[in-house]
């Protein structure tokens, strides 16, 4: 019995890889296994190799695996490109149609199943993904009824006849492979899961869900990989709560529309990736200058320019922290788990109204698109905090020509806020430097007071888990620092290091800006050496750590910018070499 294994399906884009993965993982989720998925895809719709990998475990996992147990291949290319990952004794289930062969040196068992032939006999080659997944499911010896239920849900809307045919395809694939293998494979027999069904979603869905829970009712956005799933989720959900999503003509319209809607009193977000974020910069400055709440999600992908649009990277940190001209207060937070994606959206909307500033939530492609098990989410912990938003009934009457002091100088720098429509809240808003009522002013004294007011608002800000720390050692050999989706991978590397006698601490920096200096300093002091791990070429996170918390003499960077997420073995190896 084993506690985890990895399964991958590969083929040409548009060949059913996605739907097979969806059914396979839904069935596993129903059985209570923890899952962590990784999508390898290209910036095209049809054709081109694509593969989806799922790690299946009886305990929580948050990283892709180094190796592979089962590969389902629709073509020889999928075998050629992926079989090097197969561990010794692994299995390949391939379509007999292309006479599959294993490359030399690959120690795996090949099952050539007449996948296309069976599908065509049943009426259409479209069902070959069902034959293939049925075959690989059968090898695991898991209950077929659960799988059939998932098939039924996938095809239910197409009618019972289609469901029946697909169930039959699953059965035929299973029968064929079991006859060849002589029954389910003992080496792949998974321990029973806890049977407790988890939530199973991608980060972008958790972000969408979190936004709805946070009271976000409008989204304006322009499609881009890997952010589009957020708008696709919200356009299905927001109308149920009175709101809507507008697909704008570009990202400039997306962000400015969101600013307008926030100004008028509705929690509104936009989401994009690097190129869109670049287009939004001037408007982010407007939100900072006019103290409007604004929430932007930036799902990082490979840059610069169009870069690697479907690949993993964490290279927009500097753009998010420094991107706008002039100087504004701005918050950048980085969820580091699927649960964070949900709770951080609530935090982001609250912060944006409490401090009346733009808040950027930065994810990366792996966190946004990797489908994974998610712990139960608790609505009772969700509190909506609208900061100093004043209700109309609380406003004192204004005299003729008197304006509401929307930018009143206060001790904490945050002024009371009203929304258009309030009878006694009339004021002006402008991106030009302005006085307390919002009227343009070039007065030098006013300029200083207003700049200081805005820039001091975030002094001492500390979000929930600003630095998430797993640092059991007061004097560790190693401190590993990461952000975003890399935490699970780092933890797997740490357990391997521990087996070798290397003690390590691990912190995930979640509050990227303003930088949580003191929290990070304390952690640096507890380690002999520090490794900062990030998916970019210029060590942007390390630069922030060194700038604010110091430690330059003991910090070393581990960087990966080839478009792929770190593997646990790579992190382990790098730590060994640098330690």
């Amino acid at each position: 019995m084993i506690s985890q294994l990895s399964w991958k399906i590969g083929g040409q884009q548009g060949e059913g890889v996605e739907s097979t993965d969806r059914i396979f993982s839904t069935a596993l989720n129903r059985l209570g296994y923890y899952l962590y998925g990784y999508r390898h895809f290209s910036s095209r719709i049809k054709g081109g190799h694509t593969n989806n990998k799922i790690r299946i475990s009886t305990h929580p996992i948050r990283a892709i695996s180094d190796d592979l147990d089962i590969l389902v291949a629709f073509d020889q290319e999928s075998i050629d490109l992926n079989s090097h990952e197969l561990r010794s004794g692994g299995v390949v289930v391939a379509d007999a149609k292309f006479n599959p062969v294993l490359p030399e040196g690959v120690d795996a068992q090949l099952f050539a199943v007449p996948i296309t032939k069976i599908a065509e006999e049943l009426g259409t080659s479209l069902m070959k993904n069902m034959v293939a997944s049925g075959a690989s499911w059968a090898l695991l010896g898991l209950p077929i009824e659960v799988f059939n239920k998932a098939v039924e849900e996938e095809f239910g809307r197409k009618g019972p006849a289609i469901v029946e045919k697909n169930v039959e395809a699953v059965k035929r694939g299973a029968e064929f492979v079991l006859e060849q293998a002589g029954g389910p494979l003992d080496a792949f027999k998974l321990d029973e899961a806890d049977g407790k069904q988890k939530l199973f979603m991608i980060g972008n869905e958790a972000i969408g869900l979190g936004s709805v829970a946070a009271g976000c009712r409008l989204m304006s956005a322009y499609p881009i990989t890997p952010a589009s799933e957020i708008m696709e989720y919200l356009i299905k959900k927001l109308p149920k709560f009175g709101g809507t999503v507008v697909q704008t003509e570009d990202e400039i319209a997306a962000v400015t529309m969101a600013i307008g809607a926030n100004y008028a009193g509705v929690r509104t977000m936009t989401a994009s990736a690097g190129p869109g974020l670049s287009l939004m910069m001037e408007a982010i400055g407007l939100a900072g200058m006019t103290e409007q709440p604004l929430v932007i999600v930036n799902t990082q992908r490979g840059g610069p320019s169009t870069g690697l649009p479907t690949k993993q990277e964490q290279s927009d940190l500097n753009a998010m922290v420094y991107g706008t001209h002039g100087e504004i207060p701005k918050i950048v937070i980085a969820p580091a788990s699927i649960e964070d994606c949900f709770y951080d959206m609530i935090e982001a909307f609250n912060l944006s109204e409490q401090y009346q500033v733009p808040v950027i939530v930065m994810t990366d492609l792996q966190l946004s698109l990797g489908k994974q098990s998610c712990e139960e989410l608790d609505l009772s912990t969700v509190t909506i905090n609208r900061g100093k938003l004043v209700r109309e009934s609380e406003l004192p009457e204004l005299e003729t020509h008197q304006l509401f002091k929307r930018y009143e100088l206060t001790e904490d720098g945050v002024s009371p806020r009203v929304i258009p429509g309030d009878k006694h809240g009339l004021h002006h808003v402008t991106g030009v430097e302005h006085d307390e009522t919002g009227r343009p002013s070039e007065n030098a004294g006013n300029r200083l007071r207003m700049m200081d007011k805005r820039l001091n608002k975030l002094n001492g800000l500390q979000i929930r888990d600003a630095v998430r720390s797993d640092s059991p050692h007061d004097a560790a050999d190693l401190l590993i620092i990461g952000m975003g989706s890399t935490g699970g991978t780092i933890d797997e590397a740490r357990s391997r290091l521990a087996e070798e006698g290397v003690s390590s601490n691990h912190i995930t920096i979640r509050q990227i800006h303003p930088f949580p200096t003191e929290l990070v300093k304390a952690e640096l002091n507890k380690a002999k050496k520090v490794i900062i791990l990030e998916n970019n070429a210029t060590a942007q996170l390390a630069a922030q750590v060194k700038l604010y918390a110091g430690g330059a003499d003991k910090i070393k960077s581990v960087l990966k910018y080839d478009g792929n997420p770190f593997l646990p073995s790579e992190v382990h190896q790098a730590c060994k070499e640098l330690n």
Partner: protein, 288 residues
């Protein structure tokens, strides 16, 4: 009920004496009062340029944003609270150069907002460069040999983008301008009102006198039917865009707010945002 005086504030505009924008400001104030608005029910969202300052000169809610983006900001305001009356405003550079993309798509989207462009065929605040509305051959600081680009016709573009309300006026004709802004405010959808608003400092060609000589007032054509799209397009082309009055209006097409599935009459900003446990459970069920 508020009179136009209630829409005045005590800020002295920084426009040059004689600037056409003064009349546009007055017309907006009069029209707002004439349609029965109170100052707090009106939001004026403006762009950048001389004309962009207008939101600060009207006693109402006002947002002076960034160059070329008055329209998306205004649409955000309207989506957030459809109970408000929203006017977007700016110059020809703001709406037809840097913001042209937004203008076309705001027209297509057809939210119920009124867009007033102060068209002076030149960049005034940056002290005299060419605009997309400048005539070919027009000499400016950026086109010392005369503009070699063709003049943009916002009316034709608006027609082809599917506008449901197109009007044009001249800042000297306060009566017509006020009436057209009123009609725009009453129109249930996006209304474009282009206003010839002369720049007395940097444009010595398209002067008040020049406009008086060159424009045709549609009031002179009693048979003109603004609901006829073909006739409207013909008239624009016939006059080379030098016409004033209500050029086209489509009262049939519903505004964007009225086409959004489930969008309520009550402004979104005034609705409750707290999710119930039951609603949350339903959302979670999809992920199991």
């Amino acid at each position: 009920m508020a009179t136009f005086k209630e829409f005045r504030n005590n800020v002295k505009p920084n426009w040059c004496p004689g600037c056409g924008d003064f009349s546009v400001q007055a017309a907006i104030q009069r029209a707002a009062a004439n349609v029965g608005l109170e100052p707090e029910q009106l939001a004026v969202i403006s762009g950048i340029g001389c004309s962009g300052r207008i939101s600060g000169y009207i006693n109402a809610y006002g947002l002076h944003g960034i160059h070329g983006r008055a329209l998306p900001i205004a649409q955000g305001v309207k989506l957030a609270n459809r109970e408000l009356t929203v006017i977007a405003s700016g110059g020809d550079g703001d709406g037809f150069a840097i913001g042209m993309g937004h203008t076309v798509h705001a027209i297509r989207r057809n939210l119920d907002i009124t867009y007033i462009v102060m068209d002076n065929q030149i960049y005034g605040l940056t002290k005299g460069q060419t605009s997309p509305r400048s005539a070919e051959g027009f000499k400016t600081k950026s086109t010392p040999e005369g503009s070699i680009e063709s003049t943009l016709s916002p009316l034709e573009i608006a027609m082809s983008a599917g506008a449901t309300f197109i009007a044009q006026s001249f800042s000297s004709d306060l009566k017509q301008l006020t009436a057209l802004i009123e009609a725009g405010l009453n129109h249930k959808g996006f209304s474009l009102i282009n206003v010839f608003s002369p720049c007395v400092t940097f444009n010595k060609v398209n002067t008040y006198d020049w406009f008086k000589e060159n424009i045709v007032n549609l009031n002179e054509f009693p048979d003109y039917d603004p609901s006829n799209r073909m006739a409207a397009m013909n008239k624009i082309m016939e006059t080379n865009g030098m016409l004033t009055g209500l050029i086209y209006q489509n009262k049939e097409r519903k505004s964007y707010e009225n086409l959004i599935a489930g969008f309520q009459e009550q402004g979104l900003a005034n609705q409750d945002i707290q999710l119930s446990q039951d609603q949350f459970e339903k959302l979670l069920a999809e992920f199991k």
